[in-house]
Symmetry: C2
Subunit: 448 residues, 2 copies
Amino acid sequence: MIRIDYTNVMAETIGERDGILREELLSFRHFVLETHALIQKEKEKKFYFAKLPYQDVEDLKILAEEIRSKFEYFVLIGIGGSSLGTEMLFESLKDLNHNIFDKPKFFIMDNVDPDKINSILERIDIEKTCFNVISKSGTTVETIANFGIILKILKEKVGDRWNEHLIFTTDPEKGFLREFGRENNIKTLDIPKNVGGRFSVLTPVGIFPAAVMGIDVDQILEGAKKMDLICSVEEHVEHNPAYLIALTHYIANMRRGKSISVMMPYSEKLSSFVDWYRQLWAESLGKDGLGQTPVKALGTVDQHSQIQLYRDGLRDKIVTFIQIEKRDIDFKIPEDIPESIHYLSGHTLHEILNKELLGTKAALIKSKVPNITITLDKITPYNVGMLIYLYEMATGFSGYLYKINPFDQPAVEEGKNFTYALMGREGYSQKLEEFEELYKEKYKIEIQ
Amino acid sequence: MIRIDYTNVMAETIGERDGILREELLSFRHFVLETHALIQKEKEKKFYFAKLPYQDVEDLKILAEEIRSKFEYFVLIGIGGSSLGTEMLFESLKDLNHNIFDKPKFFIMDNVDPDKINSILERIDIEKTCFNVISKSGTTVETIANFGIILKILKEKVGDRWNEHLIFTTDPEKGFLREFGRENNIKTLDIPKNVGGRFSVLTPVGIFPAAVMGIDVDQILEGAKKMDLICSVEEHVEHNPAYLIALTHYIANMRRGKSISVMMPYSEKLSSFVDWYRQLWAESLGKDGLGQTPVKALGTVDQHSQIQLYRDGLRDKIVTFIQIEKRDIDFKIPEDIPESIHYLSGHTLHEILNKELLGTKAALIKSKVPNITITLDKITPYNVGMLIYLYEMATGFSGYLYKINPFDQPAVEEGKNFTYALMGREGYSQKLEEFEELYKEKYKIEIQ
């Protein structure tokens, strides 16, 4: 179950300066109807992610079971859209300290940070490790660099059968990984043509590693399917959760100056959901001088860090809380604690957590900070699947509101090209000249 | 060594619309001189953190060594200013996957999230665990709730000597922890009176756990001392690194509309430095409708997530990069890799990481996004000490620029009071009525 409570973004709760009028929401009725029809037509192309809940994953599950029984360590080599979704599934749906005692131990080599790569290499046994190398294009610098290092170590440590320790996930036809996989008989999984990185968590990019980690991927897809059904049927903004999230954020941003979208789960496990959301929201909508800046926060921790600012700083924020209604495990504060803290007795941690959320919401209402609460009855693969699809569709719909293409990321290329030039890649000498023209180090302070 | 390069916030690099003129910086000369004198006078009170580098920590180190040899698990119970600093020291200065094989294993019970607390309890052996309970006031709800649970488990599992598994860190005289510690003969460390939570990392709050984890705390204090010496002597904004960081951010915010301060280390280890910075910047300066929103990012990972937005979204950001110049461990991309990725051969991960940073900086310059680069020659306790003090002083100085008190957090109380009311604490019945008046759940969508 998923519930979206948007009472606290409404003008009747927080006033017209910061809140949204119901008439205002309803004035988008025709726009929503038209856009809804367009989206249904785009499901074979741009909105292809909407097809993913219906895919057949039986072969993926069989392969995952094989890997799970054969290896003790599973390392994902991938970055951005190739790792954030999987990281979210792992952290949401496995124990928070899984890697200390449980198997297969799971690591992500995303960054090219030697400290991180070394720390992982120190802790795995190469002979018992499967590496899943993920890149749609097959050319991502970080992924290929880390793969190059691992390839050498694999050949040294396991000899001829090195290719059995590798699984690639990439474009179905082209690119370096596809070709190298073909030449070397490496099991290679397909990323469907029409799905971009940040919308790819429900392809083999996320589904396969999740299955290896023993997560019920059928249930993730079931949840996504349910959300797709709702979003396909409900044409009214007050009944379609994805359009509602998109519209409330759009109005808050463009008409009330809420240029920051804070997402603050009251759950450690869901904190990585925000990292996934950050990419989705920022890379899809941060274009043409528009788009909100997504900000990650965590309850209750950030009550002690960010709430001062949210209540009393610039009035530029809309906050989305995520709340968990029930938990399998809970802890009760004992009766025999000292008098001065006795008001806590008999309450459980779960209760305190959710009452702190309520207290924080009331404080935000009082400061007229618009906020939405998404409640999951429990953290389950089904609910996480609903949540993923909900935000993918909200992002896709937002593209129409902002009149931008949410599926490209043109501003990312420039930095890559400068990096290629600095690495001495062929064909980039002009870019190197441009770099030298632009980049100076003139104003500095140095302290030994 | 620490180096601050602010070339790319200057108008001559990115233009006057987004950049700062040198005259503009220098026009604050008199203000800086006057404020500098005020700060020197305040070192016994508000700026007491400036005294901390000079404290004697010999007794703390002896106690830490004793704990380190006696216990296999060390659990910090504390939240916000009582945990973020220590988490930063641990993650910056110990291996990223320390807890998998190394000892003492270190955990933080900050949140009241049952999933987190359960995950930790599942992985520790209570009989071999020392709990360090940290709260200045001794009344922090999360800390006291988690302590209540641990106290019961301790009494059950280790019997009469339960108090030997506890160390408190709190106010030198009053509060629940101080009294309970006195009554039960629990070793209790002092948090100096004039230091608030977010400025307390260099008190026993951070120094003691760091020493237990085997971190060279003398070197941390040495670094902080060096930075204090520089900041105490340099009265000129172009030579005082703390004033420079404060002023560039202030001008960027108030005169160029940069209401977001992104901090983006190109180092996994330093990513927790940003969590500490977030609290410092937000809670100190987010007041009276003013203050920047601090945003955490990580290179290169967020190049694949946030750079699209930073370059092409709203022009509301100033970015601080943190770069590491040298590393003890590095990995070279082998020579015998396939032709199409051969441009990577011979480069190391460290090189690629820093070239990606340069590429990203050039791309930001091209989009006229102001950015500062802080370079550490290495990640050492000394350099981390410098960095901590640098940002504490920059924050303190910023208070004068914004004309607000950076040492209080008045807007945090409201949420706490509502929570107390919801927990049925005595004396809060009026607050409960206020809550019921404010809080409604009227507009909802629910999906099963």
